[in-house]
Amino acid sequence: MSIDPVLQLKDLSFGYGSAPDLINIERFSMARGESLFLRGPSGSGKSTLLGLIGGVLTPRAGQINLCSSEMSAMSSGARDQLRADHLGIIFQQFNLLPYLSSLQNCVLPCRFSAKRRARATQMAGGVEVAVKELAGGLGLTDADLKRPVGALSVGQQQRVAAVRALIGAPDLIIADEPTSALDHDNRGRFIELLNQQRQAFGSSLLFVSHDNSLAPHFDRAASLAALNQVKAM
């Protein structure tokens, strides 16, 4: 673990439209290579926070520093580029494009980022090979990759989404409660496999969920309620 943080939030505040602040975080940081479990009840603003970190939502005030780049100082185009290069995102649900095969889904991040394409090629010799290696590590077969995503089980879809987030070794992977559709044992196994792969890549993992029983799988656990100055009603 190196010392410079992969993610740093400072005096961050955000609210939707003209609504009062939903999020107000004074200080938060994640070390490089660290895995962090962020707990929060439904509606507490977990997905919103990830949207801010992903640079898709714009904060009202404060700073978001991703891989030593200050997002608030950037144009939205540059923020998009930063996300493409350094972030792997696993959605809360239904996060694959139904009209592409699993393999084509997994390749997409490398289409949008030259950096990640270069890293995948450097590590495995090619983007598709990299996808296949990662898929194997997460327990997917080559046949699974060729199938349309609609023909996969929910658990298999989660793994495909994980492969897609990991491809090209992004610095930070943010996972929005990606396992809620699975039973407890399968969730645990999925998180373990995800952890193994991202550790091999040196990527950090920010995992948000309302289910506290997952916390032991991570280096560190935190509570959004404790971080957030805005108190839920």
Partner: protein, 422 residues
């Protein structure tokens, strides 16, 4: 990156193939209609202006230039006055006149107009690109009571060579005064030309003279009984007047001088028109309906384009998640933008090319049937530059319209964040 985005647009469209197909079909139908109408318009214009070629001047009694062209070339309307045979003879011997073919109108056969003329008519009447009249069957008239039929006349009346027929006096369809006592025999049937010649019945000038022998004021007198076909064949029949004269100048440059001279002809008031000029003027009058048709088909394209816009706008809601996912994967605003703009352009391009393919396949299949009835020289058998320009133009407009849903999707994907609950 552009290729990737277009590839995504194609796959996304494929996932919504039912709606996409309907949109494409509506564009294809619009392009089919527009290109067909435009080509027919062009074809009609060309074939209209090519009704008569190689004739430098048409001379008739003084009326209006358009009326002269209408009755002498299109067999529409009635000639008011005639040109005397003396004038014809004098004009035909002028130095600046290479040839002069007289025509005499005023009789019909079952509504088809009779043209009395000389055998030179078959030599000098030209249409399209200086094309001569050709005989599908038979040959020119030799005997006084021989008749040559236009292609349409023969087809519609079901006449063959050797068919016997009689002429009626006057240009109306319901003529009650007939030349029953002088039957004619069909000796030739012309090939289709796409000109009014197809609807004509052609006899010699002498025949016109013969059937009116012993007539006065448009009615037969008892004297006419004496003029039997046998006697008439023995006589030298020279008309006193003709309706109009088609003239070829000895050189192109003499045309204007010839026209000026004839317009100020001293022996009688004549009128000389240059067919090309008159035909263009006439086209401007008759083409109003076709222009209306073109405007209607342009509207059909507009409706098709609005269809594209509608189908994309309605798809936006169900595709919020798709946009959010793409953005989470690193797609920039311009990718989302390109995705939707190229989707609109693709729908129009595919629809347009489909429309052209359908139209030209249709023409290819129908050509044998159409060729029998029309002069198909005017219709092209392969899509031309104009057709592709129409498709590209429509594609461009569709892309412009695609900007509207693109901006909406872009704004939305920015406020949706990374989680879309639909």
């Amino acid at each position: 990156m552009g290729a990737t985005t277009i590839n995504l647009a194609l796959r996304s469209l494929w996932a919504r193939k039912m709606t996409a197909l309907l949109t494409i079909i509506s564009i294809a139908a619009a392009i089919f209609l527009f290109v067909a109408v435009e080509n027919l318009r062009q074809g009609a214009r060309t074939s209209f202006e090519q009704t008569l070629s190689d004739t430098d001047v048409i001379v008739g009694a003084r009326s209006s230039p358009i009326a002269l062209v209408l009755y002498s070339v299109f067999q529409i309307g009635d000639p008011t006055n005639n040109v005397t045979w003396e004038s014809y003879k004098e004009i035909s011997t002028r130095a600046d006149v290479a040839w002069a073919v007289p025509i005499s109108l005023g009789d019909t056969h079952k509504g088809y107009r009779v043209i009395g003329t000389t055998a030179d008519y078959f030599k000098h009447y030209k249409y399209a690109d200086k094309q001569n009249l050709a005989f599908a069957r038979g040959e020119e008239f030799n005997d006084l009571f021989d008749v040559v039929l236009g292609a349409q006349t023969a087809r519609e009346l079901g006449y063959e060579l050797g068919q016997s027929l009689t002429l009626s006096h006057g240009l109306g369809k319901a003529s009650f005064v007939h030349h029953d006592d002088k039957p004619f025999k069909v000796t030739g049937i012309l090939a289709p030309t796409g000109t009014p010649v197809d609807r004509s019945v052609i006899v010699s000038l002498g025949a016109i003279e013969a059937i009116h022998m012993g007539w006065q004021n448009g009615m037969p007198t008892p004297m006419s009984r004496l003029a039997t076909p046998e006697r008439l064949r023995q006589m030298v029949l020279e008309p006193k007047s003709v309706t109009a004269i088609f003239i070829g100048a000895s050189a192109r440059v003499k045309t204007l001088g010839l026209q000026r001279d004839l317009n100020s002809y001293e022996a009688e008031p004549l009128q000389a028109v240059i067919p090309g000029v008159a035909l263009s003027q006439l086209w401007n009058v008759v083409s109003i309906a076709e222009r209306a048709l073109a405007i209607v088909s342009a509207f059909v394209i507009a409706v098709g384009l609005i269809g594209i816009l509608t189908s994309i706008l309605t798809s936006l809601n169900e595709r919020r998640r798709e946009m959010a996912i793409l953005r989470s994967l690193g797609a920039r605003g311009r990718h989302i933008f390109t995705l939707l703009v190229s989707e609109a352009a693709l729908l129009a391009l595919i629809g347009g090319l489909l429309g052209l393919t359908l139209l030209y396949s249709f023409l290819w299949i129908a050509r044998p049937f159409l060729e029998v009835r029309f002069n198909m020289g005017a219709l092209q058998s392969l899509p031309g530059a104009f057709d592709f320009a129409v498709v590209l133009g429509v594609t461009f407009i569709a892309a412009m319209l695609g900007v509207i849903p693109a901006i909406i999707a872009l704004k939305r994907s920015l406020s949706d964040g990374l989680s879309v609950r639909v």
